[in-house]
């Protein structure tokens, strides 16, 4: 292994044996004895080797995972639930052993799989700082040295000698994170711990994490918060079904991950009318997002395309659509009258394209509602909840601000001017 590799993972695999119809995680002695006796009995050897009581199944939480992380590199691990992220972290932090493969680690590792591990509700804040620090691998001297800093970070100085069971949940989490944030390992392994506390505190945590990352330490970071991942890491490994699906630069990885997530929708950003439709109707609709699979990067051009089948040509036809967010709020409304650009006079197929050069709707999941009306504003057809697509802020990462869902509906271009009167 070369000099500057901090973590080397080769063909790592972890097998669990899962029992079906057996909700308890622990076996009872009776079962164990019964199984032993059975297997000692007249069963042929082969069957014994095949191991297995019916209803047992091997499950590989991780399989053939290999990667290397250099000293000082900040790497994100992303993947859906059950992709093997936590198992990987557990192996790297030596909580559990791998079934196959090997890992080599150089440097002192601190792993943060949960904030407040080992906090005891009966103990005071002060006592818990020492206890938790020791659990996370700090020495007593080290904790003493950082004690004031930890208390200041957690903002709990008034409650230092109160048992933590009387803390509000916010205080509890703040204290827990504060202890963890003051670890100074060479390799830091962090799992989804930022998903705690209020928004303000989350930002503070993220800032702290950034400091750690920037001080040249190796960081391995698991999160579902793509914003945090893109801020903290430069490289990402995507796990899917226990295998490495992608390994490369973070922005590309996040895009790949988001696109893959979209695959679970059938045909995103697309609508196809059932074949038996009659009258004037939309035969299909498509949102041309900037990325595949219905993913759109904020600020890029977007095209909404609708194919109409005009069976009853007439004057005064109007087509309009709304872009609706996840809260069912219409965010934008676009319309086209036949009187402006004729499209409804002739029978047959016609394609309408609405091009928005800079689509500045805020991040989130969106869908369309369409309206097709005829003479006298009589609605001929209205479709709702079609063409799901997603807007991300991925293309405009700003380090000083993390995009937070629901911060606004829309971002307008603006110029700031500053005067000193």
């Amino acid at each position: 292994m070369s000099e500057d590799i901090a973590i080397g993972v080769e063909n790592l695999g972890k097998k669990y044996i899962i029992g079906h119809q057996k909700p308890e995680r622990y076996t009872t002695l009776r079962d164990a004895i019964a199984n032993k006796l059975k297997s000692l009995g007249h069963q042929p050897l082969r069957q014994r080797l095949n191991n297995d009581a019916p209803g047992r199944e091997d499950f590989w939480a991780l399989k053939d995972v290999s990667f290397e992380i250099r000293q000082g590199q900040r790497v994100g691990i992303i993947g859906r639930n059950g992709a093997g992220k936590s198992t990987l972290l557990k192996i790297l932090s030596r909580i559990t052993e791998p079934t196959t493969g090997r890992v080599s680690i150089k440097g002192r590792v601190a792993s943060l799989l949960e904030v407040g591990t080992g906090f005891h509700p009966e103990l005071t804040g002060r006592e818990n700082i020492y206890l938790n620090g020791a659990i996370l691998g700090m020495s007593k001297v080290e904790i003493k040295r950082k004690f004031d800093e930890i208390v200041a970070f957690a903002e709990i100085d008034k409650f230092l000698d109160t048992p933590v069971k009387r803390y509000s949940s916010g205080m509890y989490v703040r204290l827990a994170f504060a202890v963890a944030a003051h670890l100074e390992p060479e390799i830091l392994i962090v799992d989804e711990v930022l998903a705690v506390g209020d928004y303000q505190f989350q930002k503070k945590c993220l800032g702290k994490m950034e400091d750690v990352a920037k001080s040249g330490r190796t960081v391995l970071f698991v999160s579902h918060n793509m914003q945090a991942v893109s801020q903290l890491t430069e490289r990402c490994v995507i796990l899917a079904g226990g295998r490495t699906h992608f390994d490369g630069p973070t922005d590309k990885a996040i895009m790949t991950y988001l696109v893959a997530q979209k695959e679970s929708f059938d045909q995103p950003a697309y609508y196809q009318a059932p074949p038996n439709k009659s009258g004037n109707h939309v035969t299909w609709a498509r949102v041309h997002t900037s990325e595949p699979q219905g993913l759109h990067c904020w600020g890029n051009p977007i095209i909404f395309e609708f194919a109409l089948n005009i069976t009853e040509p007439q004057e005064g036809v109007c087509f309009s659509f709304q872009v609706v967010n996840a809260h069912q709020q219409a965010v934008t409304y676009q319309w086209l009258f036949d009187s402006e650009k004729p499209f409804g006079h002739q029978a047959g197929k016609v394609i309408l394209r609405c091009i928005i050069p800079k689509f500045r709707i805020y991040m989130g999941t969106y869908k369309l509602i369409t309206w097709l009306s005829g003479r006298g504003r009589i609605i001929t057809e209205s479709l709702s909840d079609i063409c799901f697509f997603e807007v991300t802020m991925q293309s405009i990462v700003r380090n000083e601000f993390d995009w937070h869902p629901d911060a606004c509906l829309y971002i307008e271009d603006a110029n700031w001017e500053i005067y000193h009167p």
């Binding site: 000293q71 799989l113 080992g118 700090m138």
Partner: protein, 290 residues
């Protein structure tokens, strides 16, 4: 390493010089015992936590560690000496003879029940943080040891009350305490490890303890057991420990069956070594099955 400051360059230098850690299937780390030493502070903190927590939100606090053995001693003295008219050992007052046994017995019984539950009650730690797991049961035994020391004060008070002056043999008491410690640890490790996988042992332990109180010579002297059965009786390792305690504390004409004592000590050693072996063997899967 902890003392090193955070400057990046130092960290880099340090890493080069550092041995790399390898994680592989079935690799029982050769560093285990070194790790145990490195984590000695955690060991201290866990014990400290349990001691602190033990009597929190109680009114009389640590006095519980005195009251329980004291009342047990009173009851045993009344039942076995006054009612059953069993003989004491040598010329020692019956309460002192009972208490000389009660001391190691309560230590063993507390240690065993704490120890066997220790892994399960620290499940959140085990599934989230790495440290040599041996620390958990060991610190549970330490906590009971503190209680043992506290209730030792009752013994001193009893001796003062009865004007009982112990002989030189009392100086050998630490050796017997060590045996009691080894026994609690050995049995505790077995049960703690088994308990992780088979929760049956949750129910087995209270049973062992209840049963053990009667088959061990706590309330009575082991001299009432016929001589030819003494060796069989010594198969209960607590017999050796209690006999040893009495021999050391009461002194005088107290006799100890040395052959029986040897059997007990041999069993204790076997139990401890076996316990460590089994614990180490199953330790790696704790996080998966707990």
């Amino acid at each position: 390493m902890a003392q090193l400051e955070k400057s990046g360059s130092i960290i880099f230098m340090l890493d080069r010089s550092q041995k790399e850690l390898v994680i592989e299937a079935g690799r029982s780390e050769s560093q285990y015992w070194k790790d145990l030493w490195r984590y000695r502070e955690l060991f201290y903190f866990l014990a400290w936590r349990d001691i602190l927590v033990r009597y929190k939100q109680t009114v009389i606090g640590i006095a519980w560690a005195l009251i329980r053995p004291f009342l047990t001693m009173v009851v045993f003295t009344v039942v076995f000496s006054l009612l059953a008219k069993l003989p004491s050992e040598g010329n020692a007052p019956y309460p002192i003879m009972v208490f000389a046994a009660l001391l190691p017995w309560q230590f063993f019984s507390n240690a065993l029940s704490e120890c066997s539950n220790s892994l399960i009650s620290n499940a959140n730690l085990i599934s989230k943080v790495y440290f040599p797991r041996l620390i958990v049961p060991a610190s549970a035994v330490i906590v009971s040891f503190v209680d043992f020391l506290v209730s030792g004060m009752i013994l001193l008070a009893l001796m003062a009350w009865y004007n009982f002056v112990p002989s030189w043999r009392i100086l050998t008491l630490p050796a017997f305490t060590l045996i009691a410690f080894a026994l609690s640890m050995g049995a505790g490790l077995w049960l703690a490890a088994l308990n992780v996988k088979y929760r049956d042992f949750r129910y087995v332990v209270p049973f062992i303890l209840q049963f053990g109180l009667y088959i061990s010579p706590v309330g009575f002297s082991s001299t009432i057991v016929p001589e030819k059965w003494r060796w069989v009786y010594s198969l209960n390792p607590m017999v050796g420990v209690i006999d040893g305690f009495r021999w050391a504390i009461i002194g005088g004409q107290t006799k100890i069956s040395w052959s029986g004592f040897t059997i007990s000590v041999g069993l204790v050693a076997l139990l401890l070594l076996g316990g460590i072996w089994y614990f180490r063997k199953t330790e790696r899967t704790f996080a998966d099955v707990i």
